[in-house]
């Protein structure tokens, strides 16, 4: 029981896919201008990731290793298409705001990363818990970044006014930068820095010392 709990809670901070492994950055930049879009994409990712991990874990003994990536990505992509269609049918306006990023869940490294690294080796229930935890970790980072961006960029949270804008007779002048992609990079960088300062265990050992050989490009 404690073991299962740890599988879910570890990826929230200690093994967070975004801040520790720096995965899934593309969508983290694109959909975090408002909390509502971040929340929807996070939910879609959690559902897709959990189902994909469960299905792949169920058939893990029969997936030939020669085509395992193709099989995984086929299953993930199918789930993504279904999720996208469901969004278009039941939350059309939101699906228009998320545009291509729902379809791009298929290429989100977190999804393939967890199915390849965990679901292929583990039983369905732990796999789904691991997927749930990683999805929640991704969602947590997205929500933190989106809250900061929406609050300072538009003065609202979940479209509810928090800081009264100058345009409406208040005192807050919105920061345009917060609505542009670079701000997500800056906030994410500060977040990673803060977490690694609080948890020194997450700091990576320097891969090279200054003036040493150029760094090898990771494949």
């Amino acid at each position: 029981m404690l073991e299962s709990l740890r599988i879910v809670t570890d990826p929230l901070v200690d093994k967070n896919p975004v801040t520790v492994h720096i995965l899934g950055i593309c969508s983290a930049l694109a959909v975090t201008t408002s909390v509502a879009t971040a929340l929807t994409l996070s939910l879609a990712l959690i559902v897709v990731l959990t189902l994909a991990a469960g299905i792949i874990s169920l058939i893990r003994h029969h997936v030939p290793s020669a085509i395992r990536l193709i099989v995984q990505i086929t299953i993930i992509a199918s789930l993504v298409v279904v999720a996208d269609q469901l969004l278009q049918a039941f939350a059309y306006e939101m699906s228009q705001r998320l545009s291509v990023f729902v379809s791009l869940i298929a290429t989100n490294c977190i999804v393939l990363g967890r199915t390849e690294a965990f679901a292929l080796q583990n039983r369905p229930v732990p796999s789904m818990l691991d997927a749930l935890g990683n999805g929640a970790g991704y969602a947590l980072v997205l929500l933190v970044v989106a809250s900061i961006r929406e609050l300072f960029g538009s003065g609202t949270l979940l479209a509810l006014p928090v800081l009264p804008l100058v345009a409406d007779g208040g005192w807050y002048e919105p920061m345009r930068l917060m609505l542009l992609a670079p701000s997500a990079f800056i906030i994410l960088g500060l977040l990673v820095w803060a977490i690694r300062s609080l948890r020194p265990g997450q700091q990576e050992t320097p891969e090279f010392s200054p003036l040493a050989q150029p760094r090898q490009v990771q494949p």
């Binding site: 003994h61 029969h62 997936v63 030939p64 290793s65 020669a66 085509i67 193709i70 099989v71 086929t74 299953i75 992509a77 199918s78 298409v81 279904v82 269609q85 469901l86 278009q88 049918a89 039941f90 059309y92 228009q96």
Partner: protein, 265 residues
């Protein structure tokens, strides 16, 4: 493994490196995934179509409400001021026997008996076949025609462009042009969907000496029948021009517009 009678179990018992099993698993996964996607797509298509339609209506209402004078008419008379009519394009008159609420123009266009194949020289919009019946909207103010809205579409650079062309009561001046569906190159052709580009259509003249001459030009517009082109999107500009020429021409709404002009004193 010869003792396993069930062929399914025999298949699963093969080693994972086995070629038959590799192909078999790939096939099974593909078929199951394909089935799931097709089922969802077919089941959800009506719901999505309703959403797209509502979005389209919303855009048209927004376009009408934003026009000078028309917004006031709509506010006064409500939605009743907008009359949906089905036009018999060949006869150039309002077709009887259709219910505008249930009219499915896409189905009419797809059905050979209710659509006409276009010769290449006629097919400016690049649509291949044209439906014989098309929907249009007339906005009336105290019985007088105030605005005619023509839904137009045509082949763009890499997508079908769908738009509303709103004409003033004189049927010679553009009141508004709104693109509601396109998939042109983002940042270039897709800028035809930007309000700033669409805004310059208002007040343009369609024709000179009875000939339709309105055009999206390369560079800046020189007179009242020209609209600024978008740099890097010449083909999209040509497509918009051709599409409007087609739909205002003899194969499009032309006969109906002529009939309305002749009715006027």
């Amino acid at each position: 493994m010869a003792e396993l009678k069930n062929p399914w179990r025999r298949f699963l018992a093969r080693p994972n490196s086995d070629r038959t099993k590799t192909v078999g698993i790939a096939l099974i996964v593909a078929v199951i995934c394909g089935f799931c996607i097709s089922t969802t797509s077919v089941l959800l298509r009506p719901l999505i179509a309703v959403n797209v339609e509502a979005d389209r209506q919303g855009r048209m209402s927004a376009m009408l409400a934003g026009l000078p004078g028309i917004g006031a008419i709509l506010a006064q008379a409500g939605a009743d001021a907008v009359e949906a009519v089905i036009i018999d394009l060949d006869q150039g008159r309002i077709a009887e026997g259709f219910d505008p609420a249930g009219f499915d123009q896409a189905a009419v266009a797809a059905e050979p008996s209710t659509s006409t194949a276009l010769a290449r020289a006629e097919d400016l919009a690049g649509i291949g076949r044209r439906e014989n019946f098309a929907q249009a909207y007339v906005v009336r103010s105290e019985g007088e025609r105030a605005l005619v809205v023509l839904p137009v579409y045509g082949n763009g650079y890499q997508s079908t462009i769908r738009a509303y062309l709103a004409l003033e009561a004189d049927l010679a001046t553009v009141a508004a042009f709104t693109v509601y569906e396109q998939g042109e190159t983002p940042g270039l052709g897709a800028r035809i969907a930007e309000p700033a580009w669409q805004a310059q259509w208002a007040g343009k003249s369609l024709s000179r000496d009875g000939e339709i001459v309105i055009e999206v030009v390369r560079g800046s517009a020189g007179n009242e029948t020209e609209v600024d082109g978008i740099s890097g999107a010449s083909v999209t500009g040509y497509a918009v021009t051709d599409m409007i020429h087609f739909w205002l021409g003899p194969k499009g709404f032309g006969p109906w517009l002529d009939a309305m002009r002749n009715e006027d004193p």
